[in-house]
Symmetry: C2
Subunit: 325 residues, 2 copies
């Protein structure tokens, strides 16, 4: 395939991040604009189209060299139909055939991908997964998101809900997840749920330095847990242990399912640095088999919040190369 450019758009509940990249994943321009989700479908769609047009204009590249626009959006959505279905934090985009609209309004081909897949593709194309053909990514944010690339292709699944890795069951009958299941890795290892775990232990009477924050009516956050765990607080240490341990369990499961060369941890929680990565790696080695030496390299993502729009642009590249829009 010849050279060219792709636009990447990352839809969020608050902001739209967008940029224009070349075929080597070099960013020619990028910016963020408000989504204005409360202003209704037409305004939000105009903001998306506007962001794509602005990226092309700001980068100053010839329009006919822009081969595609990639959009990463919260799900549920259908890549096959190019349709945003019913994202919780973007209600005004319910049932929006965004791929068709974008192509009609811009004259440029468009592909739609769920945001977790797009971010995984971003790391695969331009970040911590560069040079790898088989990659797994866990995104540790409010929830636990996931993406899996097998032999250079995203797992999307028959129902288009593939790689919902946060809902791997790591402790059957365990803590309740937002999805309704018991014992999902998300219920232990997401920033939101690990803080709820600490609150539950403290409410059950376990002593903790975190209690004074709760008594003051403040919500516990993941960073409070990290801080308290580092200071030796038992509740915080238990909760943090479980977060790292169950992530390692899910990583062993992915080792045996897609057998990746590399597993990338992304999302807000990786700010904890070695305090997170070291125990994940240690638990992984304790938990995994000794039958074969097929251990993935576990490391942190490198693109931060830019993974979404970079990956969306990368998805457009992949669509351009495979013909699968």
């Amino acid at each position: 395939m010849g050279k060219g450019y792709c636009v990447g758009v990352d839809l969020g509940g608050t902001n739209i991040k967008a940029g224009l990249l070349d075929d080597q994943a070099r960013i020619l321009c990028s910016f963020s604009v408000p989504t204005e989700v409360d202003k209704g479908n037409e305004v939000v769609v105009n903001n998306i189209v506007g962001a794509a047009e602005r990226a092309i204009r700001e980068a100053g590249v010839p329009r006919d060299e822009v081969v595609g626009i990639g959009i990463g959006s919260p799900g549920p959505l259908s890549h096959r139909q190019g349709m945003i279905i019913n994202p919780g934090n973007l209600p005004s985009l319910k049932n929006t055939p965004i791929r068709r609209i974008m192509t009609e309004r811009t004259g440029i081909r468009c592909t739609l991908e769920n945001d977790a897949n797009a971010a995984a593709w971003g790391e695969y194309w331009a970040g911590a997964g560069k040079g790898v053909t088989d990659l797994v990514m866990f995104t540790l944010g409010t929830g636990v998101g996931g993406g899996a690339i097998v032999n250079g292709r995203l797992i999307r699944g028959y129902f288009e809900n593939g790689a919902e890795l946060g809902h791997i069951i790591v402790n059957p009958g365990g803590r309740r997840c937002s999805c309704g299941q018991l014992g999902c890795v998300e219920a232990y290892s997401s920033a939101y749920f690990l803080a709820r775990h600490a609150e539950d232990l403290i409410k059950a009477g376990q002593p903790s330095v975190l209690k004074q924050r709760m008594d003051a009516g403040q919500m516990l956050m993941a960073e409070h847990i990290v801080e308290a765990a580092k200071a030796g607080d038992e509740v915080a240490n238990k909760v943090w242990h479980d977060a790292c341990y169950y992530l390692a369990v899910a990583t062993v499961t992915m080792q045996h399912v897609t057998n990746p060369e590399r597993v990338v941890m992304a999302g807000g929680l990786i700010a904890a640095g070695d305090f997170l990565l070291e125990p994940i790696r240690r638990h992984f080695r304790e938990l995994t088999w000794e039958l074969l030496d097929d251990f993935p390299d576990i490391r942190f993502a490198t693109l931060g919040n830019d993974a979404g729009f970079i990956g969306a642009a990368g998805c457009a590249w992949a669509a351009h190369e495979t013909g699968d829009w």
Copy 2:
């Protein structure tokens, strides 16, 4: 692609099953010959080559219309290198470049696939997975094997140990598996380990009708557990419950990882019929989320012991069509 024929060869520790199939998965001939694993590498390799040649001869098709030979073998092996590495029950085939040897000896292209993947491909091509693009198979035999097809392609993995679904961890810290891990689905749901589970409970003092068999020095088998569970024996019921429950846990995990349309259960244990399938389906519905209605159809395999050579022939077809030998 035009019409043609493929040979499928399924290597086992005792017998080699082989057959010739056309492009519609119709079996023109099939048979079984002794592997003679104790007679050394040269004899076993001759038996494999001989089985392929016999299949072509017996089917009576023009040799130049045979487009490929597929071999399913116990692992570890390398599909990419066409090399059998170190299968436990086929020691005389250690480090055998079987793909190259077959092609040199027969003049026909050859592809090598691990036996669990080949069997899954067999069900996908000609059995319980026909018409589906995204399939997961669990093979419930002495161990728990697996295969996963995503968008019409087998998951092989970077280290070529993909879809080792028996080693999904369903109960961290639980029973010891043959692979060294604790709490694998194989440690609960394989014919071998569910019988060991019953023995352990009885040795620990739990009363059971199965004790007299143990006292007589006989080994418990999965069929004894099924029989006793049906008769209301508590130990047998506990063990059988765990086998079905943890299979359902692994199925929920696969629902969220590869998001298949269908999940096929295969292997000797499916002789238990609805006594196995009904609780797996029930536990699955109890365990899975209610967020989205993306539930796979869970059903039994239909090809029995023929899945291996049929799937091996199917792998040769797929290699012929994709060029990936």
